[in-house]
């Protein structure tokens, strides 16, 4: 009996020490950025900023989660500090009491409508035809509804296939004829058969693709560290806008993403060249103009309940931090 009690005590103390060690491991000051995308060459704009912020005493890291909704939930529950993505719809549901706010526009929408040219030559050809998009509530869904309005067409069906790479493969295999792809996958699909695949012009789509959002209490608590991070993020956006070859160069110099396969390394500069040409990286972190632009775009596309003029930007954004970082940088 005594032996058994000893064994139980030993097991309990082992579990407690294990828990204590793991909680110690978590109790660090690293600011975690979570996004629903794999960390590839496209993430270099943040990774360069993180590296520079590290030199100024602020540690940040990027992790991937499975989906945008999981990212928002993780931020809401305080499991990660910063979310990368778009969470307007969730913030609207939670209302003014939402404990989470956007504070920086990382990227504007950079999707392209890639089609099988043999079947579809213009937007009118897509009237009554199906289109494949990322997921319900995603930027690609917003663009689809927006295009329906702009071109006065109606898609027969919107099917959801998460992941640009998966939709790209489906397009190449001939399973689908029209979808929205990110820049890298658009390049891959077009290169696979330039005679077969083409791009439909999206016109003036001005919405955010990736925003940074965090809990308001965290932004207050770590305001100093966040200001440094925002300064570095803006600095890296401005430098990349001036020289799109910079990310590939700095990747080697800083030793970032060392395991990236060569074919993806080769895609870094073409991606940033196209992205810069499309004006995807705002030099001032978006702020109020980005918020108002997003309201217009998302209300028009059904992603937010409108009218846009009734939406209060302060219920969705914290502008204070960005303004401070901007004046410090300027």
């Amino acid at each position: 009996m005594v032996y058994l009690i000893r064994k139980i005590l030993a097991t309990v103390s082992f579990i407690i020490s294990l828990l204590a060690t793991s909680s110690l491991a978590y109790a660090d000051d690293v600011i975690t950025f979570a996004e629903a995308d794999t960390i590839t060459g496209e993430s270099l704009i943040n990774l360069i900023a993180f590296e520079r912020a590290k030199a100024r005493g602020v540690n940040a890291e990027a992790i991937s989660l499975q989906s945008d909704d999981l990212v928002f939930q993780a931020v809401l529950n305080g499991q990660v500090e910063i979310g990368v993505g778009s969470a307007y719809a969730a913030m609207q549901t939670l209302g003014a009491d939402a404990p989470v706010r956007n504070f920086y526009q990382l990227k504007k929408l950079g999707f392209l409508c890639v089609v099988n040219k043999n079947e579809i030559k213009s937007w009118k050809d897509l009237d009554g035809k199906p289109i494949t998009i990322h997921a319900r509530g995603s930027g690609t869904e917003a663009i689809s509804y927006y295009m329906e309005k702009v071109h006065d067409i109606k898609f027969s069906e919107m099917s959801f296939v998460p992941g640009s790479e998966v939709r790209g493969v489906a397009l190449m295999k001939g399973t689908i004829n029209a979808t929205f792809l990110d820049i890298t996958n658009t390049r891959l699909v077009l290169a696979s058969d330039p005679d077969k695949f083409g791009i439909l012009d999206l016109g003036d789509v001005d919405g955010s693709d990736s925003l940074l959002f965090a809990r308001s209490d965290f932004l207050k608590e770590r305001a100093g560290d966040m200001q440094i991070l925002l300064e570095e993020l803006m600095r890296s956006a401005r430098e990349i806008n001036a020289d799109p070859t910079l990310p590939a160069r700095l990747r080697e110099e800083m030793g970032l993403l060392p395991d990236l396969p060569q074919e993806l390394v080769d895609e870094i500069t073409p991606y940033f060249e196209t992205a810069v040409k499309q004006g995807m990286f705002a030099e001032d972190g978006g702020g109020l103009p980005a918020a108002l632009g997003d309201f217009d775009f998302l209300v028009a596309s059904g992603g937010l309940k409108g009218p846009a003029s009734n939406l209060n930007p302060d219920n969705f954004w914290n502008f204070e931090l960005l303004e401070k970082a901007k004046s410090a940088l300027n």
Binding site: F72, Q73, A89, L94, R136, S159, A170
Partner: protein
């Protein structure tokens, strides 16, 4: 004297009735109490400040009613039920046939058993995205996911049921010169019935896990879409209501399976 006898007989009957009905009613009572306790704890936990993402039970219940009335559930289940039912049918029929055949025909064992054991132990959620490479994003992928998750459980339990037939029963049927078919129908299958139905219940649970996993991992449609979309727009009450609806339907299916089992093999009366 006769009256006295009748009276004592009736008395006995009423005693019997009490002993028969008693445990059943108390079981139902305890089940209701257990549900009530779970919902009460859920309500209290939801009202305490754990997370906005964890609403109290009352809010989820209201969302549940709202989703029934608005037709959201009807629309979602219209998408999810066809692949689920086809998958369930293949799982149940195929699983029992495979399990029973492997149990009866030794030569089939070496061929099928390793496959079943691999699928039973494999991390299926990791395999599901691979199904899209073979079957695309169609309903077929969902059906295959359901079958992979459910069928090994049905087949392995049916196999074990057949294998564990009491040898003395087999000897008895041999001594009565029963034919092979009669031995299977009247001795082996009834003896394996409990294990087969245990496998069926596990298989049905597996099938429900399969459809939800497939709809979350392959393409968000039906109930998978309701879960992901409501999580996306932070309607956590609706997200939990969807999960509760799946649990309710799975529970109902398992109860129907129990009724079917009792009807097929009535319990022996004392």
């Amino acid at each position: 004297m006769e009256n006295q006898l009748k009276y004592s007989q009736a008395n006995e009957d009423s005693k019997l009735n009490i002993t028969k009905v008693g445990p059943k009613t108390s079981l139902l009572f305890f089940r209701i109490i257990s549900f009530f306790l779970v919902f009460l704890i859920w309500e209290l936990a939801g009202r305490s400040d754990i997370s906005i993402a964890f609403p109290p039970f009352s809010k989820v219940f209201l969302a549940f009613i709202e989703m029934i009335l608005s037709g959201e559930f009807v629309e979602a289940y219209a998408d999810s039920l066809p692949p689920l039912l086809i998958g369930l049918l293949i799982t149940v029929v195929g699983g029992v046939i495979i399990g029973v055949s492997v149990g009866l025909v030794r030569s089939a064992e070496w061929f099928i058993m390793p496959l079943l054991i691999i699928f039973q132990t494999a991390p299926v959620s990791a395999l599901i995205p691979m199904l899209t490479y073979i079957y695309g994003i169609s309903d077929t992928s969902k059906i295959v996911a359901i079958v992979i998750l459910g069928m090994p459980l049905v087949a392995l339990n049916s196999y074990k049921g057949i294998q564990s037939t009491n040898p003395s029963l087999l000897e008895m049927s041999a001594s009565f010169l029963a034919s092979r078919t009669n031995t299977i129908i009247f001795v082996i299958l009834p003896s394996a019935q409990k294990m087969i139905f245990a496998g069926l219940r596990l298989g049905i649970s597996g099938a429900f896990i399969g459809i939800v996993l497939a709809e979350l991992l392959i393409t968000p449609t039906g109930i998978g879409d309701l879960i992901t979309y409501n999580r996306f727009i932070a309607r956590y009450d609706k997200m939990f209501a969807t999960i509760v609806s799946i649990l309710a339907i799975a529970g109902l299916t398992l109860s129907l399976m129990r009724v079917f089992e009792d009807w097929l093999f009535p319990k022996e009366k004392n």
